[in-house]
């Protein structure tokens, strides 16, 4: 009898304790009870996890440091062994102007006194358009543009993106007014930023930016990059 009572009461106590543990989940900062906490908070490096404390060991140097960091300057991701792609992806030769240190941050970037923006006017787009790839390049460009540019520059490139229309942002130029800029200058501006616009090289690689340059040219000239069906000759030359 006594034994039975003990069993019953211990089960009851266990039930109450579990209920109390279960109620922890209602605290938004707790993810609730985990079967294997060391599987969620393990020594294996995962992004956006604080490694200041792993398995009870503290590492003050790592504490609260591993969150959303920019890659070191000059490093490029691995793009395979295709020589054309690798050549395109090599670090950008043109440097940012020293004044951009205060206007655009440029932490860790190499700076120069020379006005490389003006020099970039003569740079050619290394992604040459031909009748085979143009369709694909414009399709990729459209995808990239709608994800990275359209919220300010507008889906039509007229500077009336949803951010401008909502009144949150002002001063976005219409691409139609920028026909005087060279391809290389467009690239330089996207890469390092210009005026209010920040540098986009941390989020777009060089191939993507050159693709975007093609796509922006298409806003300024509807015939840009169209080829006559008979010959594989570009009808309209780049500006």
């Amino acid at each position: 009898m006594k034994m039975k009572f003990r069993i019953i009461s211990s089960i009851a106590i266990a039930a109450v304790t579990t209920l109390m543990f279960g109620s922890c989940a209602s605290d938004p900062d707790s993810s609730g009870l985990e079967y294997m906490p060391d599987m969620y908070r393990s020594p294996a490096i995962e992004p956006y996890v604080d490694y200041g404390e792993v398995k009870g060991r503290e590492n003050t140097e790592l504490k609260l440091k591993q969150s959303a960091m920019t890659p070191p300057s000059g490093t490029i991701p691995y793009y395979g062994t295709d020589s054309a792609t690798v050549a395109l992806m090599m670090p950008y030769a043109r440097k940012a102007h020293t004044s951009m240190k205060t206007t655009h941050g440029m932490y860790g970037a190499d700076l120069t006194e020379v006005n490389e923006y003006d020099l970039a006017a003569s740079d050619k787009n290394p992604l040459a358009l031909d009748s085979e790839n143009s369709k694909e390049i414009f399709a990729t460009g459209k995808k990239l543009f709608s994800a990275n540019c359209a919220h300010c520059h507008g889906a039509k490139g007229d500077g009336n993106g949803p951010m401008v229309l909502s009144g949150a942002y002002a001063g976005v130029p219409d691409y139609a007014n920028l026909t005087n800029l060279g391809d290389g200058q467009l690239f330089y501006s996207i890469y390092y930023g210009k005026g209010m616009m920040g540098a986009h090289n941390p989020i777009l690689d060089k191939k993507e930016i050159w693709t975007l340059v093609h796509y922006i040219r298409k806003f300024q000239d509807a015939d840009y990059g169209t080829f006559s069906a008979a010959e594989n000759v570009e009808v309209v030359e780049a500006h």
Partner: protein, 472 residues
């Protein structure tokens, strides 16, 4: 304006009347005619002046938008300083006459000639573009238009208002329960005490010796023994109930639905992805390239927040944290100082180590929309959380699932339902499924036919249920 015109007309009328009276005694009709003519002339002149002013206004507006707006705002410093009453500022600052026009045409000439212009040139590191083709009239029309604008201070609802209220309500409810519990305990104790006293009094009256040694426990035991059938039944019911809740709560271990960790910055997705229409992939830009969707580095925040500093004190307080992290001083022209800090976001969707999940595989190859797993973030006013499966099912276009979010059941349920890409073996996606398609067509037509029985090829049928796809 109106009264001004009428007094002028009265004056003109009076003159004519005087002239008519004293000299020729002019006929009323001709004087009337002349007066009408003058009225016409005056009207035409006003119209001309007005349209002239309007044209200048329209010209200023157009010119400002085409030439200046990229760098200058009217009421706020940006890449260039604000332009509202800039002429006033220059003349107050002691600039030479006409120096401001020279500045617009080519700032370096003005800076060489005028000490005030020289001081202005140090405002920012960014040099102003030269506009040699703008005439003095055009520049004046721009400044006229800018000065005629009125600042609108939009009343934007405070950020955390609603959230704060709901929290208060909840904690208020908690207090009610605690107070009620205390009141009940006091009542029970009081009744018990009264009962005991009554009992002892009645025992005394009847001349019996009241057993004062009998404690509450003894009384309870006595009572339980006399009603043992009901007590046993009650105990069984309570234990069964507790066991059921025990197992139910055991089931909840490892479930993270509604997990909403606090974040260093109160980031409203509704403003960014909703009102301002920013694509998810702009900030979470590694989603198409890597395993993780990625949290934006602070330079991505700064791409917009260099200009957007917030309209309410709540917003400004939050955005200041971005400036602190980026090492940016927003005063004046704005300046990067280089003193950066970390923003430590708290990870919301955490998968255990034994599961491999890759974002780019799902978003790029599978063509899955973010909202399938993360819900409608464009209307999420609070910080991000793990959405419940009920909330996910409400989102338009989502595959309807039944298992709890972020559990394995949830994953494989979707793998069973989800068609690969759009339609039957869509080969649009860089030919990713071409190889498997070829193998099926060449080798195993029967299996292929079986796959197509329900009219679609699902992720499961191409191996999406194989253990090693996610566990290795």
């Amino acid at each position: 304006m109106n009264s001004h015109i009428s007094t002028k007309f009265a004056f003109v009328e009076k003159c004519f009347f005087d002239v008519g009276l004293t000299v020729f005694y002019m006929k009323i009709s001709s004087s009337q005619m002349f007066r009408d003519l003058s009225k016409w002339c005056f009207g035409a002149l006003t119209l001309l002046l007005l349209t002239g002013a309007f044209n200048a206004q329209a010209q200023g507006d157009a010119l400002f938008k085409a030439k200046c707006a990229t760098c200058h705002q009217i009421f706020k410093d940006g890449t260039g300083p604000k332009l509202f009453e800039a002429r006033q500022k220059w003349s107050d600052g002691g600039a030479a006459e006409g120096s401001i026009f020279q500045w617009v045409n080519n700032w370096s000439n003005a800076a060489a000639a005028d000490p005030y212009a020289q001081s202005v040139s140090t405002w920012s590191e960014t040099a102003m573009t030269a506009f040699p083709d703008l005439s003095k009239e055009q520049i004046t029309s721009i400044f006229d238009w800018v000065d005629s604008q009125e600042e609108v201070t939009a009343a934007v609802g405070s950020l955390g208002g609603a959230g704060g209220a709901s929290v208060e309500q909840e904690s208020g409810l908690g207090w009610v329960w605690i107070v009620l519990a205390i009141v009940f305990v006091v009542v029970i104790l009081a009744v018990g005490g009264v009962r005991r006293q009554l009992k002892s009094a009645s025992a005394e009256m009847e001349g019996e010796a009241f057993d004062d040694e009998m404690t509450y426990t003894d009384e309870l035991k006595q009572w339980a023994w006399s009603n043992r059938k009901f007590v046993a039944l009650g105990i069984v019911a309570v234990v069964l109930g507790l066991l059921v809740t025990l197992f139910l709560s055991l089931y909840s271990i490892g479930l993270v639905e509604n997990y909403q960790p606090s974040q260093p910055i109160a980031f409203p997705h509704s403003v960014h992805a909703g009102t301002n229409g920013i694509d998810c992939k702009y900030c979470h830009n590694s989603v198409t390239k890597s395993k993780t969707a990625g949290l934006p580095t602070v330079n991505v925040c700064m791409n917009c927040h260099k200009q957007v500093s917030g309209t309410t004190p709540e917003q400004q307080e939050q955005i200041q944290k971005i400036y602190d992290a980026a090492g940016y001083d927003p005063s004046g022209a704005g300046k990067y100082t280089g003193e950066t800090k970390e923003i430590v976001w708290n990870k919301v969707h955490v998968l255990p180590d034994h599961v491999y999940f890759n974002h780019s595989q799902h978003v790029e190859v599978g063509g899955v929309d973010c909202k399938q797993c993360h819900g409608d973030m464009a209307s999420m006013t609070e910080t991000a959380k793990v959405q419940t499966v009920e909330e996910l099912n409400k989102v338009e276009g989502n595959i309807q699932l039944t298992k709890t979010t972020l559990t394995m059941g949830w994953c494989i349920e979707c793998h069973k339902e989800k068609e690969i890409s759009n339609g039957v073996l869509d080969t649009k996606k860089d030919g990713y499924y071409d190889e498997i398609h070829k193998r099926l067509m060449d080798g195993d037509k029967e299996l292929y036919g079986k796959y197509l029985e329900d009219g679609k090829v699902t992720v499961m049928e191409l191996g999406g249920w194989e253990c090693a796809k996610c566990h290795y």
